[in-house]
Amino acid sequence: MIENGFNRRDFLKVLGWGGAVVALSGCGNTSVQDGAEIVTSYVEPPEYALPGIGVYFNSTCAQCDAGCSITGRVREGRVLKLEGNASSAINRGKLCGLGQAGVQAHYNPDRVREPLLRNGDKGEAITWDKALGLINEKLNGVKGDEIAFLTGAVSGHVKVLLKNYLEALGSKNHYAYDAVAPSVVRAANKKAYGVEMPRLRLDKAQVVVSFGADFLGAWVSPVHFSQEYAQFRKGSDGARGVLVQIESKMTLTGANADRWIAIRPGTEGILALGVINALDAAGLSLPADVAAVSKAYNAERVSKDTGVSAEQISKLATLLKARTPSLVIAGGAAEGYKHGSQNAAAIALLNRVLGNIGKTIEAPANVPFPQVAVTTGNRSSVQALNDSMANGKLKVLFSYGVNPVFTAPAALKFQDNLKKVSFKVVFANYLDETALAADLVLPLDSALEDWGTAVPEYLVEAAQLNIQQPLMEKLHAGTRGTGDILLALLKQRRANEYKDYEDFYSYLRSAVVKNKSALGGAGADDDTFWGETLSEGLVKLPASNGALSAKSSAAGLVLPAPAEEDSAYPLHLIPAVTANLRDGRHANQPWLQESPDPLTTIVWDSWVELHPKTAAKLGIVEGDIVEVTSRSGSVKAQAYLFPGIHPDAVSIPLGNGHTALGRWAKGVGINAFSLLDQVVDKDTGELALNETRVKIGKTGKRVMIVKDEGAAGGSQAGKKIAVSASTDEVELSGEV
């Protein structure tokens, strides 16, 4: 009889359908051919699979931690394109370029295909059995606190397994590392609002003042914020929202602001207090504790400290007073200093003063299952890990989803300390810098082949459990899912507990189905519920919104005076997090490399952004190869003159400068992490990303910068191409 066995992966089988597959160079052959191509048909087809017709599967984007839901277009068993899943409140059917490049992470020719064991300088391919056995062997006799697991932000059932595994090993050393996370802001938010990441209602705000939060580009949940931004701009009945961005280096969000204010690096908090002072002057009544702090920040002083004109400050205060509700956001640029926590606290005060808390700053949804909620990454964890490695306390280190050898600041000497760990296991998609330093590399399934769940940190409306499911058959037989590996490792320790689960899929299915009543599937048949969950791609968790505690207090808020001139290293380095490359893990996806940086339009390289004034002073012109030297290191890169940066600052984008990772990443650009000094935020101990001072010297070489922008350099040459109007020239109400 025909088998009715339900093995989902069979359906995902790649189908060789001659005519439907694109033969390369399709335009060459003009004649009809007979018998040249082979048609492979299904052995057993699923009901819905018809050659020539696209099928859509829902899953979750793994390119960043925002947790957008995706829909993969699958034809003949191949995933062709990722689109947004409309049923997710986070991205509502939209997807950014980074997310769409997920297919390139999946089809990437540089993926690791089998477990590799270090043999001298080379990796030797071994079997999974051997690899897992080796781990078991190496762990024998090692004490729990000599073992550490380094991950990025982690959530869902992989997190559960991870936690259980560490528990089984008797280790408490889980380090969640994220090189560019807004960890100081989280801590400040926790203080000010009682939650790490409140829900920011851009759509409700009339004015948004962002202190360096690049929420349209790379901050927290850009796709979601972009959608809210669109609503905010449209406003209701033509009351268009106003965006003011205050930062030292223009981000994508800054480029879209109605007013972009260049501020002396590190003085964001001072300006926030200055605005409060101006609001006071404009007649807004302030709480006593706030007034006590802000009264010292009169316009004159603030203007002198921040470089923002008094007129600008008063205009901003007037605007904030006139249009409510407003929303003030503290972002990456404000938090990246020694006094980052204070900056963020001062900025949070603005929200309190303006009465935004509860209006545009809402409590996020609670995740009813804390064991799957996200463990966010931060930078202090890698410092802690580094310390324990340096002390020689660690024997075995697992690393998954992060690349600290590339992203840790040079001053940590992470790579050297890593050598002190006797056995390093890296779960890897690519042979990145960290994988190359490993003793054992475990090749992972791509995000489009793997099972999993995820709970995003930034939640909208309700909490949701995102389902990650394979969109197609595995490309390489030798890779395994993260969950599968963890499960196999757990079975080594707690065989009994996990013996019922053949693989991670069965574990996941039973874990979700077991809780179906709590997940809104009460009364449904297991298979139906599971099938619906998979087809939806996410489960909405029962809502229970927490409350905000507006306990931000101005007491104890001390902002240091602007940093002294440093004659040896006169410039502030602002490492820029770009929407495409983030911390560099996606550098081997060619669409992202070739997609021009929105602001400079540079492709396939790193660059040093300089204000034309600074450049003139140093005698630098565009394309000069300059040497940027900090106390911790130096790099050489092309200079780009940029009107969106404070003259005291230089900026280098992060993400490029890989020495490994793959054919499209290796040797492209320079690594700005290697310049960073080890300076931390006083309150949180987080690395202060913007606190590095540098000096710039010419090398005498010059190159043509490879960029999309032509010789006109972003000028419209008097033509009406991209037209701007001011709000009093247009009538927006009634627009479709």
């Binding site: 009889m1 060789g16 001659g18 439907a20 007979d34 040249a36 082979i38 052995v43 057993e44």
Partner: protein, 212 residues
């Protein structure tokens, strides 16, 4: 002078002819005999046995198999034809679905081969017989919807416009040229929009309909 006149008349004729005929489109392409090359298939699938007429006596054509065909509708196996751009080769499951119950031919070499593939769960590597260049977008669904469903043409006739008389073949062979001019020669003609209609339209003449 006589020579001159003759020549002039000849020339006028030549030019008039060229002028009016040159823009006339395509030279007719012979159809029935225009057989494509024979394609070696992993299994010599007998289309005549499956799709041919049931009673051999009904068919004047001696090529009809002695045992008679089974008159299986083309779209029983090529299920994609009415729903998708590609007609699709039936999955192995479909072959086996019937043949598992047909014991009379179970031991013939072809069926044995079929079951070898089935047991190995391997797809049969069929060779494409009607292979258009990759820049051509041919949509089976559109043509079947138009001719079979809207115009009520018999399925074998409608399929036969392009695939020839498949029911008389064992291993399918290409009968029509499938060249652009051949496609155009049909698209140029006016076809009734449905079985009852007097309204006619010709096929689309927009390049993008067929080229991608």
């Amino acid at each position: 002078m006589h020579r001159f006149l003759c020549l002039s008349i000849l020339l006028v004729g030549l030019f008039a002819n060229t002028g009016s005929h040159a823009t006339e489109v395509p030279p007719s392409i012979s159809t029935a005999d225009d057989l494509g090359p024979k394609v070696e298939q992993p299994i010599e699938f007998p289309h005549d046995r499956h799709a041919g007429p049931r009673n051999p006596a009904d068919a004047a054509d001696p090529s009809v198999p002695a045992k008679g065909g089974m008159e299986i509708n083309c779209m029983y196996c090529h299920t994609g034809a009415r729903r998708s751009a590609v007609a699709a080769i039936p999955p192995l499951q479909k072959c086996v679905g019937c043949h598992q119950t047909i014991n009379s031919v179970r031991e013939t070499p072809r069926i044995q081969k079929l079951f070898e593939y089935w047991d190995a769960k391997k797809p049969v590597p069929w060779k494409k017989v009607h292979d258009l260049p990759d820049f051509v977008r041919f949509n089976h669904e559109r043509h079947i919807q138009r001719f079979v469903f809207a115009q009520n043409k018999p399925v074998q006739e409608a399929c036969g416009y392009c695939h020839g008389d498949v029911k008389t073949m064992t291993v399918a062979r290409r009968q029509k040229s499938l060249s652009m001019g051949w496609c155009v020669s049909c698209h140029e003609k006016d076809h009734p929009v449905d079985v009852a209609a007097t309204k006619t339209t010709h096929g689309p003449n927009d390049c993008w309909q067929c080229h991608k």
